[in-house]
Symmetry: D2
Subunit: 467 residues, 4 copies
Amino acid sequence: MDEKEKCGVFGVYGLKNASELTYLGLFSLQHRGQESAGIVASDGKMVREKKGMGLVSEVFTSRDLKNLPGHIALGHVRYSTAGSSSPRNIQPFIGESRFGHLAIAHNGNLTNALALWKKLSERGAVFQSSTDTELILHLIAQSSFDGFEDSLKDALWQIQGAFSLGILSHHQLIAVRDPWGFRPLALGKLGDGYIISSESCAFNVLGAEFVREVEPGEMIIIDEKGLRSFFYAYSPRKAFCIFELIYFARPDSVVFANQVYQARKNMGRVLAEEEDYSADMVVPIPDSGIFAALGFSEASGIPLEFAMVRNPYVGRTFIRPGQEARELAVKIKLDPIKELIRGKRIIVIEDSIVRGSTSRQRIATLKEAGAREVHMRVSSPPHIFPCHYGIDFPTRGELIASSKSAEEIEKYLGLDSLKYITIDGLKNSIAPPGENYCFACFNGDYPVFPRERGKLILDEKPAINQC
Amino acid sequence: MDEKEKCGVFGVYGLKNASELTYLGLFSLQHRGQESAGIVASDGKMVREKKGMGLVSEVFTSRDLKNLPGHIALGHVRYSTAGSSSPRNIQPFIGESRFGHLAIAHNGNLTNALALWKKLSERGAVFQSSTDTELILHLIAQSSFDGFEDSLKDALWQIQGAFSLGILSHHQLIAVRDPWGFRPLALGKLGDGYIISSESCAFNVLGAEFVREVEPGEMIIIDEKGLRSFFYAYSPRKAFCIFELIYFARPDSVVFANQVYQARKNMGRVLAEEEDYSADMVVPIPDSGIFAALGFSEASGIPLEFAMVRNPYVGRTFIRPGQEARELAVKIKLDPIKELIRGKRIIVIEDSIVRGSTSRQRIATLKEAGAREVHMRVSSPPHIFPCHYGIDFPTRGELIASSKSAEEIEKYLGLDSLKYITIDGLKNSIAPPGENYCFACFNGDYPVFPRERGKLILDEKPAINQC
Amino acid sequence: MDEKEKCGVFGVYGLKNASELTYLGLFSLQHRGQESAGIVASDGKMVREKKGMGLVSEVFTSRDLKNLPGHIALGHVRYSTAGSSSPRNIQPFIGESRFGHLAIAHNGNLTNALALWKKLSERGAVFQSSTDTELILHLIAQSSFDGFEDSLKDALWQIQGAFSLGILSHHQLIAVRDPWGFRPLALGKLGDGYIISSESCAFNVLGAEFVREVEPGEMIIIDEKGLRSFFYAYSPRKAFCIFELIYFARPDSVVFANQVYQARKNMGRVLAEEEDYSADMVVPIPDSGIFAALGFSEASGIPLEFAMVRNPYVGRTFIRPGQEARELAVKIKLDPIKELIRGKRIIVIEDSIVRGSTSRQRIATLKEAGAREVHMRVSSPPHIFPCHYGIDFPTRGELIASSKSAEEIEKYLGLDSLKYITIDGLKNSIAPPGENYCFACFNGDYPVFPRERGKLILDEKPAINQC
Amino acid sequence: MDEKEKCGVFGVYGLKNASELTYLGLFSLQHRGQESAGIVASDGKMVREKKGMGLVSEVFTSRDLKNLPGHIALGHVRYSTAGSSSPRNIQPFIGESRFGHLAIAHNGNLTNALALWKKLSERGAVFQSSTDTELILHLIAQSSFDGFEDSLKDALWQIQGAFSLGILSHHQLIAVRDPWGFRPLALGKLGDGYIISSESCAFNVLGAEFVREVEPGEMIIIDEKGLRSFFYAYSPRKAFCIFELIYFARPDSVVFANQVYQARKNMGRVLAEEEDYSADMVVPIPDSGIFAALGFSEASGIPLEFAMVRNPYVGRTFIRPGQEARELAVKIKLDPIKELIRGKRIIVIEDSIVRGSTSRQRIATLKEAGAREVHMRVSSPPHIFPCHYGIDFPTRGELIASSKSAEEIEKYLGLDSLKYITIDGLKNSIAPPGENYCFACFNGDYPVFPRERGKLILDEKPAINQC
């Protein structure tokens, strides 16, 4: 599928070469944002930064890392919609205020950003970016409290929506998760130092210990006195993003107390158990559908075949030449093995259908390669509502399931049959009680509404850039 | 495994925007060479070129392709050892001679390169590169025959070893395969035009028809009069490279009449059938071991688990920072899922063990993650002899199997058991008679010896750069 | 000499392709700042920007200019000291406030920057740069006035020191000069549109008419209603920077009512008239000493010879290789013609001596080339005090004239004689009354003192970056 | 003027860091070629190279120089016409032959290149570039002599036209000048080492001693046995290029036994003496006309004024924006000082008029700036014939003096009067007898004719790229 996670946050406190560790950590979070990356580091006195458009491997040179000395570092990877992919919006956002230099790395989306922007503007704020992350920094600077910690809490009380934050000052690293807990954030330990990361996979890679997830409504402050934690806000309802488990998080992470790989295999298993099947092979859409396909194959007894081969070299820089060649280029990304498919009944496993256009093309190439029947099973329910908490789904008009029935979609995609997992099936695939999750993109049950608007608006994308 | 294929060849005759098609074709052959790429194109009058170090996506811009007009094009992707990775060695090699501009793209390795170099040099040749490909062009230019075709045949009669060639003149595209047939080369058709490609996967992608493989000892000339084919040399013995099927070729290609994906599944199946097993899971080393692992799992009934997660963003530009961080970075490429592995008996499927150092690290991380037992099954026999026909294996001294017994390797790698497929098992996994293949890297039975040396030298790497 | 002008300002209102004209205008002001350049443009609705490190020719592509549409544009070229040459400090400084997007281009230096920074910070400002230019934008945003114009005046009343400003909003271009008039700023007219520029040379180049200089204490607002002008502040004393005439401004500009080329010739003439000479030739240090040398030669009758040849290709990117070669490289920039110099008595004309190290080397090469006598005449008085109004002189400790007498300098430089022009001589070389000029770097008579410091500090460089 | 010198040659033998010295030397020869640069170095064993498009400062990094170790180096700067500005043509040209690696740096143009190309081609040569320099290397490799020195002489006997050559083998540096001596080449000494350079200015800069010019027909071989010199060919007639003195060579060089600066002053002086004048000022076209203008002013007593100001920042990367702005951009390169010119009678000094288009524009801007009369005096005779010996003049059709009379040119340029120096006047300005010079571009008296053509062709540009 093509949805884009918006951000990954990674921070280090109390370790030599904190920026190098952050560089390695961002590599493990690269799947959460490929458009830009940034690292801010402090040696206790001076705060330095390096940011750039592109992948982690493109943004940083070894020289850059040497120019970011110190034992505290905060990093960020980001994806954003085209219109706002300005260098000014690269995170961590950094500014100098009465509390010295502060840097903020944000994963999520504030639902009252416009109202806050108006209020701050009237008070004389000068803005540099079009991100909601910058608002948090101005709220801290303009707070009527004197101390930094009180001003930070004051700022957090004013923002609404999804935010997993890393905050760096010249001598502190702070981790904050919103009271609903939309986005993940985890705490790790390496030697005498601490690490925060959007996902636990980054801990494995660095040989760090996964301590626990940061709790919804919790703030963790790490400085020379050690680690302090408290709840800055009461958590009325948990709302973990189910899409982290379906698609976004890396399979080797533990997110919301679920081992992600196993959760996805469970989804495939549950999907297989929801009815009887007869087919020659189960084929995953690589790479994302592979785990659900394995679970489906195990549960159904239908053999798994990797009948579509992905070309790993086709990336962002691929030139789509003239019209004629463009049509020839359809299969360059995912080539079906004709010899395997010809005359077979195939069950294709996808993790989600958003617009449907990519799926349609893929099914056409399978039919063209000689498949007798193509059935699709999807490890998420139909996608009907946009996300206001940090996932870049298209607007409602573009979501195929919001305007077409399952039968119409089946026909549009050229399938012999199409089935989605149910919300109940999804709940059965995961460990903690399903009540703690946000299923709003499937059922429209939004835990927090965009505040600055008088009425519920489900169709629009937010005006201020989220992350 | 880490062996490197040395080259991929792709050519187009008789199609508009031949260079654009060649660009797309090289994408499908990128796995055969990631160090440099080049395209030469002719509009029937003028021959133009663009070459560069890096991936296809890095070397060519859409403007470059516009600057390569014409209906004939020849492309090449290349890998080479560090010392000789000079821009001068990027292929296709191009020069101007009494036959006008000629470009040659070569996959393979000449075994009598040094002797030829000496002879040509004495006759007054001026060399630009350190590739054996350039020698072919000088042999054509210095031939005592008058016509181009006769001079080309004269040149081919003088070279020995492995060569699948694409040759472009301002009005012709020529495909040549050596009499042994070491390296693959295939012929395709698209509309009124012809395509040649190291592997058939490139045809699928372009919607072209896979006509057949170019035969050992065959020359195919394509020009405005159409396609002519003949055997320029008698083929005393076939010697198809078995490593193309084990590792190099793309799974969606048909190579030496084998569908590659199925051949690899067969190898896994044969490996499983060679003994009785008892284990909790079969784990492939991604991405190359995945197909043999699937065959192994099916044949043995032991469940397949993708328990090692590959980070697709770790590539050539990854900076390995200071010593401390370097050790932390071991798992950044391949992270085992601890929760899945802990306490389990695991069979790891690899396609080959060359030096053994990478395998050793990976097994260590599995043990560290809590695996109770780790067994390894390898879908190729022990690797003892170097290759003289175009594969960049290390020298004999570095090949772990040439100095250590299977038990010693088992111990060195920290395994609970280690088994290789047998040469007979390998022959049973593939379609055409095993006699047609070259197994020299396993059994030392070299079809052609390096000619300029008085005695058989198995330990050395050739002095002239091969491709 | 090596002093660096800090900035050039250029703006356009009411002309198609305003950004292209600004690009051309910045070329004519490139001598005022070579480190970075920026253009901000407005089409009446949206404000766009492009900035970068380097020369105007390096920062902008023709595509960049196309991406800056609109009839209003503001540009800036900048030089800064090494420590603060951060991309964040490139001007025009741009931010979004309650008045929408505002961009400010500044030439000069605020003397009360630290005090303002403290006040703004306490009120909750978040800073992005370390420039005094940013302060002006925050003062506007935080003003207690409602309207933009009142808020701007409020901001101007609070700042002290040297400032020639261009300000762009989405529908206006504003020019402001400080009440002392330290830095130049001129108004031009082209067709129906207006142009502002640090120097009039940019008008010639564009075929625009030079209307007049902006007056000290004047604000000019240009918008769809036309041009309005008023004095926002009373001008207690004029303090035009004499160094603009001695060295900085381009010879084809008219600055402070002086044609610069002629003013410099006058300085040479006055210098010659201040005593009797006998020598074989007058040799200018190219390119800056050439005009004074011409005046000197005319007045004294001693022939002018261009006996030192400048290599125009030695620029910023010149690599100084190993120690040995470094010493050989002394003359690569300025090579004396031995055949001309040998045995001659030479008068070298310089425009100023700052540290003395470069002059010393040059005189040594002249002696080495065989000059019998080398006399130096300098078209500025001895340089004793630092500048607080925007010129990057070294600190007092580095100024050779602040610690050495004329005789000591003569000896240190290896001269046979050394004479400086007097302040009176300088006054006689220029048109308007000398009382209107600032000679602080020669006589320490500072028109405005740095405010945030309790006592006069002449030795320090300002902490906040000036421009 | 806009003619382009084609090449500069620089070589070092017997000095540590020879490539660094060559880098510095090429800086002093940069005026002889700005399109590409290359350095080849040998440490006695291995020959290494670095070449690139652009200025010396753009092509080489300090790392490149470190990667070019050794005590022998050969460098080249080059200009070429647009069509052939391929990276393949960058010099020194380097190839491997039976004599090992050889590199050739060439200034000049072979007049029998096409015939040689044909002969070599028939013998089986494979060409890489379209330069006549490459031909020399093939002639050496294909010579029927055994030894290198004899083969080199054999090659030199076959080539005709202009060639000042530097040749590097792994242990030798060789300097060769053609029997006519068209292009300069000088020998210098630094410590125990030797330097060769197209111009002596490079010696001054490195602190090296100018030993003498290489003689027409001389070959100098420098190796571990020291320096040997002999005449490989008889010199029937000298033909020094007069344009080196008029325009190309640097003023601080000694070329053909003339100090260039003084020769140019002499030309101005002679020009002034050829008639009576009455005018208000003499104005040079900077920078090239400045020396003749000084001589003219001295001889005539008419004051010199630098009334046209050159913008040194307008270089190759200057973007010429849309039509409207383009017209405004005329004066961006050379801005006349209106205040100085208004109402004055001006004598403009140019060194040559080729096409006339640039001169026409400049005279128009002077008139526009208010000049009462504009007279032009040119320090070269009318330019009628193309050059076959290495200078990139336009074809005869484009040379304004080949189709228009002096009166017509005067009118076309908008001048009040126009006078050229005579050939006799030119001869009187220079030291050695005028018979030793080539004036072919003025009088059509070509010392050597292009050989491969049956008849004299004066209008065409050569097909093979010269240097």
